[in-house]
């Protein structure tokens, strides 16, 4: 079968954290170490929670839905904007792997 590659529609794209990257929770925060780039990344409380959720492939919709449940009263639109920005940022740093939704 021909491999058509990942789908490009943002809402259909799922993301997963690079499963081999070393990380550690530090109370509410988390540290991610990337030996390939010699960078260390400090994730704040919310970012650390998203990092945990990204252990399994998730779309922005998935993440927003989970966080909306957990953070009662958060504006869905604001949440979506933050999550999109953050996921894009982590993806740009090579910490996430994008995949087309199956």
């Amino acid at each position: 079968m021909k491999d058509e590659g990942p789908m490009t529609n943002e809402s259909e794209t799922t993301w997963r954290r690079d499963p081999a990257l070393p990380y550690q929770r530090m109370d509410e925060e988390a540290i991610v170490v990337d030996p390939r780039t010699r960078q260390v990344h400090l994730l704040n409380e919310t970012a650390a929670r998203i990092w945990e959720l990204l252990a399994t492939a998730s779309s922005v919709d998935d993440l927003v839905a989970t966080l909306a449940d957990e953070y009662e009263g958060a504006s869905p639109d604001a949440l979506r904007a933050e999550v999109e920005t953050f996921v894009s940022e982590l993806g740009g740093k090579g910490l996430l792997t994008p995949r087309g939704r199956a």
């Binding site: 690079d18 499963p19 081999a20 990257l21 070393p22 990380y23 550690q24 530090m26 109370d27 540290i31 170490v33 030996p35 390939r36 010699r38 960078q39 260390v40 990344h41 400090l42 994730l43 704040n44 409380e45 919310t46 970012a47 998203i50 966080l67 953070y71 009662e72 009263g73 958060a74 604001a78 949440l79 933050e82 999550v83 953050f86 940022e89 982590l90 740093k93």
Partner: protein, 386 residues
């Protein structure tokens, strides 16, 4: 409400958990919370070279027949899981020579699954092309440290007692570096190679390697002290510190306070010997328990040795507290313990090093007070000593 916008703060980090602000913050967190963030496992004592200064045991003598067997593959894999559960992030695998264990890659596979950042300590002689390429394929390989004992094969090989080891080590580290692995050299300075220190550093610089210089030689964990015959004497130490190691000697002082005095032993650091003994740091042979008899978590939490170490105050280091040179001292608890038999004792060589560093710092301060005109005179004097 979402408590905080998700943010990622970045920082460059060298090959090792040392120095940078984010890593420093994490180390401080581990120290305060008693999280074994940095663990070292001595996966074997077997080695293919026989260094004169080896701190494990005298490699020119037969080992005692009553030695316990080394940890099995399964025991080390289980230990890695226990360390991760306790909060470990930086895992150092050391030896002996780690590449003499054929199951090294089984451990690296497990470390990757556990999201551990791995550092390796090897003599580099077994880093053949296939091995180097395989090591370089691990995304979680945080760095590799390799020791060198001379700028020439004659000097290095006389210390390892294996002809060709200098060449094989250099071939190995250059191969690994060429594959993008962060390699850090350790130049161990001894009586036998002190005259080559400048050349060793020049080789490291010319070939683009990060390196550290270490003069610490201790007696062995088997109780023998033949290794000490390789240690530079006081005269050599002073010549080195006034000459090719001057930049290290005048790094400046660190104010000693109750908070700054204790090290990370048994707080953010832990070591596990090749036979399962749990120690505060791999260079400090003070056994808190053995993982074959007790879980790692129990030893870490409640072993009397660890409780005692965590409870030490600056005043307990009776010889250090009143010392005039303590702000210039690179304290080493392993050296102190093996030299004096006491964790809170001292190693006279470390004391001498602090004294020389203090003298140099004072001379430098006096020089700066006199103004720039004084500098050429002193530089000429140092050149003579050198």
């Amino acid at each position: 409400m979402i408590p905080r916008e998700p943010r990622c703060q970045d920082e460059a980090v060298a090959a090792g958990p040392d120095g940078q602000a984010l890593i420093g913050r994490m180390q401080e967190w581990a120290y305060q919370k008693l999280v074994p963030l940095n663990a070292s496992i001595e996966i074997t004592l077997r080695c293919n070279i026989r260094c004169l200064h080896c701190y494990n045991f005298d490699r020119d003598e037969p080992r005692a027949a009553c030695d316990k067997p080394e940890l099995s593959t399964e025991e080390i894999l289980a230990l890695m899981g226990d360390l991760r559960a306790a909060g470990c992030l930086f895992l150092m695998l050391t030896g002996g020579e780690i590449l003499s264990r054929p199951d090294l890659f089984v451990f690296l596979d497990r470390a990757r699954e556990l999201n551990l950042a791995v550092q390796l300590l090897t003599n580099g002689t077994m880093l053949r092309p296939g091995v180097a390429a395989r090591l370089a394929s691990y995304e979680n390989l945080h760095g590799v440290s390799v020791s060198l004992y001379g700028a020439t094969p004659e000097v290095h090989d006389a210390i390892t007692q294996v002809r060709g080891s200098w060449r094989r080590t250099w071939d190995g580290v250059q191969r690994l570096k060429g594959l993008g692995v962060a390699v850090r050299l350790k130049f161990i300075v001894m009586r036998q190679n002190a005259h080559e220190v400048e050349a060793m550093r020049a080789q490291g610089d010319a070939r683009g390697f990060a390196y550290m210089v270490d003069l610490t030689i201790t007696s062995r964990h088997d109780g023998s002290d033949g290794s000490l015959a390789t240690r530079v004497d006081r005269t050599q130490l002073e010549q080195l510190y006034r000459g090719p190691l001057r930049d290290l000697a005048i790094r400046g002082k660190t104010e000693t306070t109750e908070d700054s005095f204790p090290c990370n032993c048994a707080r953010g650091n832990v070591g596990i010997s090749a036979t399962g003994d749990v120690v505060p740091c791999v260079s400090v042979p003070w056994t808190a328990g053995n993982i074959r008899e007790q879980s790692f978590a129990d030893i870490w939490k409640s072993a009397p040795v660890f409780q005692q170490i965590r409870g030490f105050k600056m005043a307990d280091y009776a010889q250090c507290t009143p010392c005039a040179h303590k702000n210039h001292c690179q304290r080493s608890r392993g050296a102190a313990l093996t030299a004096s038999g006491s964790y809170t004792g001292v190693d006279p060589f470390v004391c001498a090093t602090a004294e020389v560093a203090h003298t140099l710092a004072d001379e430098r301060a006096a020089l700066e007070a006199e103004g720039p005109a004084a500098a050429p005179v002193v530089r000429a004097r140092l050149a003579v000593v050198r």
